[in-house]
Amino acid sequence: MKAPRNASRRAFLKSTAALAGGLVIGFWLPGRQGRVLAQGAPKPPADPNAFLRIAPDGSVTVMVKHLEFGQGVTTALPMLVAEELECDWKQVRAQLAHAAPEYFHTGFGIQATGGSTSVADSWTQLRTVGAQARAMLIAAAAAKWKVDPAACRAEKGFVLGPGGRKAGFGTLAAAAARLPAPATVALKDPKDFRLIGKPVRRLDAAERANATTVFGMDLKRPNLHTALVARPPVFGAKVASFEVAKVREVPGVTHVIQTSRGVAVVAKSFWSAKKGRDALEVRWNEGEGAAISTEALRTQYAELATKPGPMARKPADPEALKAAAKRIVAEYEVPFLAHAPMEPLNCTVEVRADGAEIWCGSQFQTVDQAAAAKTLGLAPEKVRLNTLPAGGGFGRRANPAADFVTEACEIARDAKVPVKVIWTREDDIRGGYYRPMYVHRVEAGLDANGAIAGWNHAIVGQSIIAGTSFEPFMVKDGIDETSVEGVSDTPYDIANLGVTLHTTKSPITSLWWRSVGNSHTAFVMETMIDELAAAAGKDPVEFRRPLLAKHPRVLAALELAAAKAGWGTPVGKGRGRGIAVHESFGSVCAQVAEVSVEDGKVRVHRVVAAFDCGLVVNPLTVEAQVQGAIAFGLSAALHGAITFRDGKVRQSNFHDYPVLRLSEMPKVEVHLVASGLGKPTGVGEPATPPVAPAVANALFALTGKRARVLPLAATKWG
């Protein structure tokens, strides 16, 4: 059976007999409007994939098209199906889907996990899958019992009919699969939800605690070799020559292979590959990348920040600032940042006569699949890309250039053995893709009444998107929206806000990093607002209120955080309290931080967060994501910096690229804002941006000094 090819703009569903007589629902919904990220995205699938399997034993397996890397999609997405299916939650399992067009993001046109969109992407799609399947199971039971389907209902994995009739989903699945799927189904009114909105523990909690989860790093395959790669010590360097004699003397080494970026050492085990790579001598033509230094970038960026350039937003009155009663000019700097997920990157590839198979934790499955196919000279459908749960990612596994996947394909292709490429922590910190460094320069002024008269905001930094396949969709008139998001679209009512963007060219490779542009723009916006409030002699919350009058969700989050944190009450001796609010990924997060300074170092004691992510699917996960996003943002705010000297990354591992430790973790209180928005918005990222400015503003309250450079550890406080 083939599904209709011309299925655009309407959902279709087909049922087919499943393995072992179960029910398979194939379903694809392209309807959600959204920007299409990938150029030449493949056409809608001819053969819709299964999102749902009901086995004869009644177990329900939901195929999860997004990557599970900590954000809890393998629980939240099955909840969407189960809500409508009326199955027993104890019978629900989750399985990560392989790369396939039927798993495309409904808004992006590729299979992707990013932009805090996973739940919103699946919100209608997976509830519809559940409702369709429920209707088919009821129809199967009604036919068997020769009763009106309207007299039957589903409950906890059973169909119940007149006269006490009862049949389990597992016994009905085979018959249901042969029935036509209903063309339309009504979805529940949110007030009738039984599961959505309730705290549900993760389906994978036990396997994670017992360490039985197979991450990419843990994959075992017959005759699997391990490869480590010597990558360029500076960006853009090319291999000039290399000596293999000493490498071959290392026991266990089987191949030394030049790749398009570097030289791979393939061995029977990790330690042999590591020893082999240690013995490898590569001479590099370093090229222009060797001239890069953080100091030089700082000088260049600061100079550019004072010059005119392309504007992302024009002020209503460009001359307004000249008439300001008070003016503040401030320059800000944030560094390059590594993602540093706990699981170092890895990718396993087996090339066979009839195709290839790949295993990795990918945020961009179909992009990686297509790139792998190109590298291997195969049609994409001949490349099976299996998604494995990843030990974090934060954007690093969503690379338009598919770097770690294509590299593994090159090595496996040339070595002609199954290969797992493993990145060491040093490889990850040194040879990777970074959140770029940015310099902001803000000139802002107040009028005689203490209101904002004008705000000229210049941003300098490289583009994450330029040069990638996403450029046609995300760079408009020379403006990479990820460089200015959070400033040019600020909810603050500032008529005379002008935003200039200087996009620098650099051989340094860069990527989105949890919260993308918001990771630096919120810091600048929210500390400058705090500074203007102080200049106006107003309380920071009071100062924001009129500026947010047209954005009730933002204001409500701000008010809730302030109320819960005891804003305006004494904070205690030696402590400072600061507030920040930021809207991103369709959600709003406000935070109040309480800090002290100990031996010149910043200590964050408490963060009170108010979070509006629309309709909450799983409050337990939302709380965890807010805690985690704060920890991630705080890691960077306090410690994170990748710096360059002679083109080389100066950091290498967690001793010189420190991340937050347990003893540094503040108490975090999470309060959800009941905004009444009838749909879910972003959860994974929006709590990262506000923490740095909340802490910086608290530091000002405590010390009277403004934090304009991150990380805060670069400054001696107190």
Binding site: A205, D218, T226, A390, Q627, S663
Partner: protein, 162 residues
């Protein structure tokens, strides 16, 4: 030849004394519950117990464990009250996010509670500070360690068992 015990079983390795215990466990014994995170004793993902004490297996050479008893997450005795309490608390408190660091966290927590069944906040900070988590599960780790400790607190006279 270096001989020691892994999860109760004797093992022999023909390897240099500086061969990292982590890679002996992962690549040669197939015990992949012990994770590679940094290779430099900085992150705790590779935490195992050597004669009951938490050690970072990426930076422990086989020569150091000669004749000793190595326990990995796979070898934690399921019936051990501390192990049971820690795993139950980890699930009940919904601690994990990506889960990659969690075997190391569980090993560190078990080691802590084996020697101190009533840890203070400072004890928890000290014992768990070497175990990094990039997802930021720290608040729930603290809660879970406390919850596990609470279940281990003596509730009936010593010597009597259920």
């Amino acid at each position: 030849m270096i001989s020691f015990f892994v999860n109760g079983d004797p093992v022999d390795f023909n390897a240099a004394p500086d061969f990292p215990l982590l890679w002996a466990l992962r690549d040669h014994l197939g015990l992949t519950g012990t994770k590679f995170g940094c290779g430099l004793a900085q992150c705790g993902a590779c935490t195992v117990h050597v004669d009951g004490e938490p050690r970072l297996s990426c930076s422990v050479g086989l020569g150091e464990v000669k004749g000793k008893r190595v326990t990995t997450i796979e070898g934690l005795a399921p019936g051990n009250p501390v192990v049971k309490a820690v795993k139950a608390a980890w699930i009940e408190r919904d601690v994990v996010q990506c889960g990659y660091c969690q075997p190391g966290q569980v090993m560190a927590a078990v080691a802590l509670l084996q020697r101190n069944r009533a840890p203070t906040d400072a004890d928890i900070d000290a014992a768990m500070d070497g175990n990094l988590c990039r997802c930021g599960t720290y608040p729930r780790i603290r809660e879970a360690v406390k919850a596990a400790a609470a279940t281990l607190a003596p509730k009936r006279p010593p010597g009597r068992r259920k």
